[in-house]
Amino acid sequence: MSLLEADAAAVTPLPRQSTGKRLADRAFWVVLFVSFGVAVVGLVALLWYVFDTGWPAFGGRLWRRFPSLDPEIAGARSAVFGTIWVLGITAALAVPIGIGAAVYLEEFASHDRWYTRWIALNIQNLAGVPSIVYGILGLAFIARGPLGLGPTVLTGGMILALLVLPIVIIASREAIRAVPPSIRDGSLALGATRLQTVRRQLLPAAIPGIATGVILALSRAIGEAAPLIMIGAFTYVPFNPTRLDSKFTVLPIQIFDWIGRPQEGFTQLAAAACILLLIILLFMNALAIWLRNRYQQRW
């Protein structure tokens, strides 16, 4: 011990960090925590306010009653059904096309060709195009112009399908890429064709990832109002869609309409419809997270 004590005396003791350095470190933590706090407080305030104002008006009438000029009896039945119709059409179009594109890009496209890279780049950039621009496209080509379908559920579904297509493709590509090459090689080595390999091995293995991506894409679609406003979706529709060429409204547009009305009752209804929308979204996201955790494979 005497040896060690002598050494301890021989060396200068470890000083604390300089005060400036410690203060800077402390201040930095505070700044970061405040940033994080702003993010949390902002979003909590949003959720709290919407639930607080909307809850009294929330209830079965939202999906049982049709819209009305009297806030006491108004509901959003046509908007709920319109949303279901539009979403169904969006899924029916975007899912197969999106998966097909992903399979092509991952499995069949030669990656050194200029057009393959171009397509991939293009998809990336499309994902960032503002939704209102899709509305313009829909207005020019689908609602009016060459297709001339008018402001129908089919038009709405098609526009939202185009809007979420990049999301479906990117998510599906990632899911397919995550399937280990050994599965692919094993199947090919057994004499399966590439298409058989895709159908029997790759897609089943990639389905949880694809499904997660599809749900997230649809939850983007369910909240979109701007492109549908562009094609002239109606704000007052007192009936449910029955055919592809029915006129329609969706929940976000119904909310938009109610926000713009002066009566207090409609403001409440708007918040109540926001709650409904948020609850649906929460379910979809929970399903996506559940799928991801349930089927997440550690290859």
Binding site: K21, R22, A24, D25, F28, W29, V31, L32, S35, F36, V38, A39, G42, L43, L46, Y49, V50, I97, G98, A101, V103, Y104, F108, A109, I119, Q124, N125, L126, A127, G128, V129, P130, I132, V133, I136, L137, L139, A140, F141, R144, L165, P166, L195, I222, G223, A225, A226, I229, G232, P252, I255, F256, I259, T267, A270, A271, C274, L277, N285, I289
Partner: protein, 287 residues
């Protein structure tokens, strides 16, 4: 079968071409009626009135003011949140917080618009420091709430960039006697800078292209001012408002939608291309 798959992939290119084709002809027709110089430098925007005025500056200014407000919230606090998550939060907490942030990023924009108009706007009116208080519709409320909306996106993408910085760099800095602040400010953030810049650019592009919040909360009057307390119209809000009205196809008013749409598309498209390119370069450095 492979042919069909190829067509699926090629559809995305068709969409892009479709967007361009839907924009160009009416825009060209528009500029046969309206002088390009007047469009880009005019200070009055009243395309649907008689006589019409086609100076785009007021709605460009509106877009800028709202975007600046949004970015002033989203960039610093989003980056702060990202650094907090990547440098301080434990992995288990981060594993929970990240998906939650992403869920919040998916709240529909009408809900944000409602919040901006009914909750934030009264506060903005009450707390306005100088001069006359703003009206119910003002750019500031829309901008602030838009900032909260894009904050999760900035945080999430910046966190991705920070997480891609090799752990060895941080360890190296700690081993030289750096505090957390020094590691974050001199190593992690600079090393992730291009990824963070890409996230910022994407956020700006998102703010410029956002429609519903401004349509609901910023008011509908084109207004050439830098005062965020005033009501303003943005490019997106004009497009949506004009699209709702039943304009007859081929009229100059109808073509205005496409002229403004072209401007919006070009601006956001270039920002997205830039952002994607930066992200790709950034990945190449570390992978």
């Amino acid at each position: 079968m492979i042919g069909i798959l190829f067509l699926c992939a090629a559809l995305s290119v068709v969409v892009t071409i479709g967007i361009v084709l839907s924009l160009i002809p009416p825009t060209v027709e528009f500029f046969q009626e309206v002088d390009l110089g007047e469009f880009l430098t005019g200070t009055e925007w009243a395309p649907l009135f008689t006589p019409p005025k086609f100076g785009v500056l007021p709605i460009v200014a509106g877009t800028l003011v709202v975007t600046v407000c949004a970015i002033a919230i989203a960039l610093p606090f989003g980056l702060g949140t990202a650094v907090f998550l990547s440098e301080y939060a434990r992995p288990r907490i981060r594993k929970w917080l990240k998906p939650m942030i992403e869920v919040l990023a998916g709240i529909p924009t009408v809900v944000y618009g409602y919040f901006a108009l009914k909750f934030v706007s009264p506060y903005v009116q009450d707390l306005w420091p100088i001069g006359d208080p703003p009206g119910v519709f003002n750019a500031l409320s829309a901008g602030l709430v838009m900032g909260i909306m894009i904050l999760p996106m900035v945080a999430s993408l910046s966190e991705d960039a920070l997480a891609a910085v090799p752990a060895g760099l941080r360890e190296g800095a700690y081993a030289l006697g750096s505090s957390k602040f020094e590691v974050a400010s001199r190593v992690s953030v600079p090393a992730a800078l291009s990824g963070i810049v890409a996230a910022f650019v994407l956020a700006v592009s998102r703010a410029v292209g956002e429609t519903m919040i401004v349509l609901i909360a910023a008011g509908g009057t084109p207004n050439l001012t830098w005062n965020p307390g005033e009501a303003m119209q943005t490019m997106t809000a004009f497009i949506a408002a004009a699209g709702t009205g039943d304009l007859s196809q081929g009229s100059t008013g109808y073509q205005t939608i496409f002229a403004v749409g072209s401007l919006l598309f070009v601006v956001t498209f270039f920002m997205n291309v830039f952002s994607n390119r930066v992200v790709r370069r950034f990945r190449e450095v570390y992978e």
